[in-house]
Symmetry: D2
């Protein structure tokens, strides 16, 4: 049996760990043969297929990124996309796919599966917002990097008694902001799921200064103020081609400074949250996802994705997760309000 | 309402995060007053009670260890232990306890609870082997440190083409060994739950050299060979006063070297696994445990401990977890055999 | 003898290590008494004086920032600044000052010294551009953080085959950019001392893509293009009140993208470069600076600053370093051109 | 011109950085061709020669260890060693060698140079004890790892109010112990250059407990007690075949515990000090050493080694450094006594 592997969407620590473990398990235990499709769905559309044996995956466990390359190509935005993918698979004798990706990549996988392509999904996202799994790999690494950054910013904030705003990843969900904000001891945490009141934020900031400590405000990039608070921001295309807002961190620093009369600065963590060696947790999770994806292929459990539930890896129908973003539950967010201000 | 907090057993990253969050939530939300009992049960026996207000817990979130001190004192090994503890609580007007500790500390808490002391437990162990919770805080930090050490040892092993044996914590369970071994890409992982065959280990070592890579063997300190393989080891008292075996790492290096005719060295990670700043994951978990412990006290849910199930914090009767060690499931261990050798 | 200590300018890892060691050495060996002046020269102007004994400096060695606070206040921009400082010193019986700061803070110290205030300087700057010393503390920590960030960005760059531009600190000198760029394996390093040719930069970028690796461009925030290349940038006041250019990283990404037709992104490291625990090198250097500053005070060597020359700590007249910025030598920069492109 | 490169002795972070930069500079700037000799002098004796071009050194800058392998082979302990090396060089048309190694490897290089082999040396040692250079690469990484370990041990020591002894590398010199001990805020630092008085050590330990802080004792593995203090230790062959003492850390913990009646534990850092990715400082230094070694070969400056003096890379005759170990200067050690106890 010949299996094709592809990685789609933004890169994420742990992708290589999945590739390694699915190839190791599939080859050694089930006698599968593997090929890689380069650059996500692009490789499937354009017949960019590379060999992928055990030698190719040696030493990649601790490496960030993906040895297969990635792209945001959506096969359903290309004419004959499905047919071209099927042609590529037939031409190379590929019997099934292992598709490692986030919401968009798995969305395409779900549709391809419906149209008869045998495949197993592996959920991937820095943002932790894929429905159906407790956690995705990459998230723990991103939270760790953001937390370390917040640790560093505390001493600067206090030496100068100024507010430091940290803008972290999270366009549609506040998982990184919430976890890193709690772990880093932030005084304000702003997430897309809970539009904020800038007056309340400024109140928390002023309150913090009264204790002779300096405020750290952690904001997901998708955090938004409540209605009535006008934001003038840059609008830009994100990497998936959608319009998104940017600059919430900078806006917050300016508003806090203007409204409280105290100094405020911003740090935008950006790409350093998604690169580099995965944390031990992410290597563990990604390795298990790969092992179980090989099992799923062997069992013919196509149209499912592997997922974490508690400490178990389970299979979830791709159909069930389609189009659903896992957001931060209001009650979880409220747990931490005791630390605000 | 006045609450006493104590930390018992070996220190563990995240203890301070629990102390901080239980005090913040209890004080701000429920109007509790707090005191600390110094050095675990010792403080309860000897009336070592210190103030514990919000000012006392400022800035301790990222700090390892415990500001309350710890000890391995077992109140049931002291005459009138229970009576003396009750006297201390009465003398200071303490209405309930929050007891943060591992198997031994929570064991004593369970018995005290039966004898009428109102208390809530918070499970703590580097080793991750407390029953009733998916994970304990401190474990993720220990795994991260061990994984980074293994990462470092790979390059030394390969530069000299020798075996490096890494002995990690885990007397009764192999959680650290298994997680760090998988995350670090070890070629052999030895855990107490699965007595090993030294001939098989040497076979894996020799096999690894054939690929032109050098073997990394990760062994829990409690790993033991199968019957028939005699080990001459030092026997010593552990920190809880029990006899235990030590030196499995050194023994392995000697046997591997003797039996395969190749060079082998050992590194014993020791105390660096339990000290220092907690990982973001452990700060998150410890913070939530503290918040939910305050809720449990407020709800009068005495005789329970807080625990992690999936992504939820739940309450588990202390009685249910008493005397049970959570060990590595054989099927979980077997998942990773594809990487051995 | 009573000594006043102050820290001025931007915060920098190692400030607390200096404070600790000067207080330890001065108190234990020379019997000095110490006070702290809060927030740099501001405390001297406004009589904000705090006790500073051995208990106050316990445990601060590994902590970033400064327990004394800092500010950019220039006493010579305040009417009667010098007289007010002398009044504060007289009122508290302060016999001499230890002034820890960068170019601006030490510039004021030089002038105060000329006007009769007995003081010893300790050079401090993230940017490493204080003349008269091989290195300043804080620099090694900043380079380490920037290098780790570059390490992380490599895998993202290669997974997507895009250029990543990293903007690091350095308005007037390129030390951080050069050291971190070399250590991180950057393909282009841009420093203020060497105006760059954007066409050449784009040539290097295109060349890099030909090797199937992705380019990392490291730019000091003060890097500027050669005459004829127009930059439209935001202009803003820096923390010392001067006009400066910002946004070179963003500009570079846009130009590279526009001129080469390939994807390019920017990460601005910002404040995370200056906060948090100092590296071992910086703790060593800062500790030695503090010890030698105490010696200098004891020897009455006023009007000097301590400095590193090779592995020795020496004393340099403050007059000699006044107004001189230590920039990157052209021949040093040229050493690394073999790695460009 | 064809150049052979070899790495000898224990592995050390930065070896790959030297290999990469000498090959890049030599190939691109001077048109040299390169080959690698495997496993130190062993490759030269046994004709193990591998290609070494720019493709072979891509991506190795951040990797620990050495892609060329290493060994402790001394060519002068093999009959006809010199002749066999000359034969290997002749057979492969090698015109000159770049020899990267520590005292033993460079000692052999010095003698070979005298006997007519054109070569340039690059000093390498974790221990920083090669004479003629301010620092060697690998040292900063080792100090950083040891300092981080000490940071972690502080919280454990204080939670249990026990002494923690940390045994670090350094058989013949105390550089790692001194730098990491100072950076980590140790209370006792023991180095081979200064035999210690165990009574004084115990006095410092007791003194530390009086402040309500717990002692950290950092000992180089070669630290020895003064005459009259008998040590019963294991004696073993070190990796260079010499007899050496081991176990000073364990001995210290036992003596401190016995003499002071307080708990004391040991951690032996071991191999984790020498593996893994080099620090930014070490990558910078190793890269510059490689660049200047290529220059030296091009200039025909054979019989020299590159060395760091202040911020400059200079050439030092190998003859001058032969047989000299750079030890810790007594006056440097005494600088830090203010922190003891």
């Amino acid at each position: 049996m010949k299996i094709g592997v592809l990685t789609g969407g933004g890169d994420c620590p742990g992708l290589n760990a999945v590739i390694r473990s699915v190839v190791r398990k599939g080859t050694q235990e089930y006698g599968f043969e593997f090929v890689g499709l380069r650059d996500g769905w692009l490789g499937a559309l354009r017949d960019k297929v590379v060999p992928l044996d055990i030698a190719a995956v040696r030493g990649i466990l601790p490496r960030g990124g993906t040895i297969l390359g990635s792209s945001r190509t959506n096969p359903f935005k290309h004419e004959d996309g499905v047919a071209r993918i099927k042609d590529t698979l037939t031409a190379h004798g590929v019997d099934a796919l292992v598709v490692i990706g986030g919401e968009d990549t798995l969305g395409a996988a779900t549709e391809l599966s419906r149209q008869g392509v045998p495949l197993v999904g592996v959920p991937k996202t820095i943002d932790n917002d894929v429905a159906g799994t407790d956690y995705t790999f990459g998230f723990d690494t991103a939270v760790g990097i953001a937390t370390e950054a917040i640790d560093r910013l505390h001493t600067t904030a206090e030496s100068h008694m100024r507010t430091l705003v940290v803008e972290v990843m999270g366009r549609h969900s506040g998982w990184i902001a919430l976890h890193a904000g709690v772990a880093g001891g932030a005084n304000v945490i702003l997430v897309p799921e809970r539009p904020f009141d800038i007056d309340q934020v400024c109140g928390w900031v002023k309150n913090r200064f009264r204790t002779n400590y300096a405020p750290i405000v952690v904001a997901a990039e998708g955090a938004v103020p409540k209605e009535g608070h006008v934001i003038v921001q840059d609008r830009a295309l994100d990497e998936y081609g959608h319009v998104h807002l940017s600059g919430i961190g900078e806006w917050l620093a300016q508003e806090i400074s203007r409204r409280t009369g105290t100094d405020a600065r911003t740090t935008v963590l950006g790409h350093i949250q998604r690169g580099g060696t995965p944390s031990a947790f992410d290597r563990w999770l990604a390795t298990r996802f790969g092992l179980h994806a090989a099992d799923a292929v062997n069992d013919g459990a196509f149209g499912t994705m592997v997922a974490l539930r508690g400490t178990e890896i389970v299979r979830v129908p791709l159909d069930e997760t389609r189009g659903r973003t896992k957001v931060v539950n209001p009650s979880l967010y409220d747990e931490f309000e005791v630390f605000f201000g």
